[in-house]
Amino acid sequence: MMNMPLGMILLLVVSVLVYFGLAQRILDRMRMTDKQALMFIAGIVIGSFIDIPLMRSPMEVSINVGGAVLPIILSIYLIAKADETAERVRAVTAALLVAATISLGSRYLPYEPENMFLDPKIIYGISAGLIAYLAGRSRRSAFVGGVLGVVLSDIVHIVTLSGLDIPGTTAIGGAGAFDVTIIAGILAVMIAELVGETREKMQGGPVLGPNRPEGLYEFSKELHPDNSKNLDSKKSSKTPEIKTSGKEDKNHE
């Protein structure tokens, strides 16, 4: 590995930075602070080097800590912390639907990625995002759908292979941070975000200016001069006027 030209090393550094930067932005929407998201990524990277063997025969099955155990724990945590039962059901439904899509898709779609319009990783990530968005309308259930969907499809794969006596190896989340499990989770959130934002946009988008709904964060003070006044009054006095200031709640909406 050390025998590489500078260009190659730079390429590696850039792609890893961009990938993890993106993952961090996605994870901090999953009930995590920026710091926790960063720690979680560190956990995924370190966990990538740890494989836990689950089964030796009839086929070898192992699970990777960074590529599967941590994302599964996060998904279960998100399901458990959901506000309503309906939300939980929707997240689990999304995961089941994604798993069915992958299992059936991999069987009936062309078997060379070349014959598909997108790489399978991307297709299943995007379908996870769409399914989860339709089922749950939320980024969190999109993430859960993407991650648990891929893991479930792996389990289906194990069951099928052992049922047919085909020798094989399954390493759930085995590619660590670059596994389809995490890629599907990240892509799913991006798709949910994209679809959600576009839909909002098409419906007219959030109102800018003085009539902006309460709680919606506005970034440019110029658009809404009241905001900056508010900010000052907040700093100086202990009785903030909340009626126009949306700064209490933040952005990601």
Partner: protein
Amino acid sequence: MNNKLFATIIALFFILTASLCYAAPTPDNSYTTVLDEGGNTVYITGWKMQVGDQMLTENNRRYEVIRVEGNTAYAKLLGEVNLSAYYQEDSFLFSQLKAYLQPLILAAQGGSNGKVAVYHTHSDESYVPTDGKESILGAGGIYKVGDAFTSSLEKKGVTVIHSQAKHDPHDDMAYERSRRTAMNLVKKEQPDAVFDIHRDAVPPEVYKGNVAGQDISKVQLVVGKYGPTGKQIEDYALQIKAASDKKHPGLVKGIFFAKGGDYNQDLHPRSMLLEAGAHTNDRESAEKGIALFSDVIPDILGKSSAPTGPNAAGATNSAGNTGLGSAAGGLSGASKSIGWILGILVVGVAAFLLLSTGSLKEAGSKLKNFTSTEFANFLGSKKTKKRNTPSSFKKPDEEQQDK
């Protein structure tokens, strides 16, 4: 209630379909013939083609597919590629120096002549004349071809890790399963290069050849152009072809640039998909072909005294050979790939900001807000942050309670 019912139905459906039988890849015996503007056959491969796919023929003419009708693809000539740009002799002085230093370099590297990892995404691929069938689930003849490649490389002092992992069935998740194998090899072994060995599916004469006095099956290289690192892999494939043309002319049948997948070549900058013959060739000839191909590997890894090109994937030690590009070769694939990644990042961020805020001004402010508050959250202590940043009255934890 409805939701629960729905979930149950889905789960049932799921369990039922899981018990269905996997069909082995259907031997439909179809392959693609590529015709040039004059109607001459220029390339034959088992890969299905899409408009935009490219190929480099054995005699280094590059074509792009412009139309596909069934199993025939029509391509236009993009030009002849001068591969000598990818293969340059060292100056006399430098090669003398290198020859002198070679034992020292080897000693410093622990006597190893480089490390190569080999795996097989399609574990079932076999050769009909010798193996009897074209697909043997879990025990394809392709592993024996991998063995031939391995032992031939080991004779040259290269350390080889030949993975026996299976990725059946032959479906479109096979590459996602082999991705785990490839990643494992990369992170545990830190190889200098990774090869995914397959075989093609075309009539025997396409791969038949006589190189170095032996009847062999030729080798095809496949480059996945899908990911942003595709440019880098493209460069690498051209270097391999250049080195191979020098050593064993006629051994590499061509390079197929598939735009539809990345074939896990994003995991290592020296990843290559090889096709050793077709299912209609006998396996021994494929083994001989891949053994000859292994002669090229030390050059590619920059481990022999033979040189590599201007943007080479090889050693950093020849003058100006940083892999960033050169006046002669232009920008290297690595530099182009970096450009693509950064370009996509900038466009993506801009599009997201616009979409989520609704106006350029608002987007700009959000970006500013991001750089001032988000990084304060990472790097500044809470106290200083409270005093200095505009949204200071917000606790970082509260920021996340959004949905």
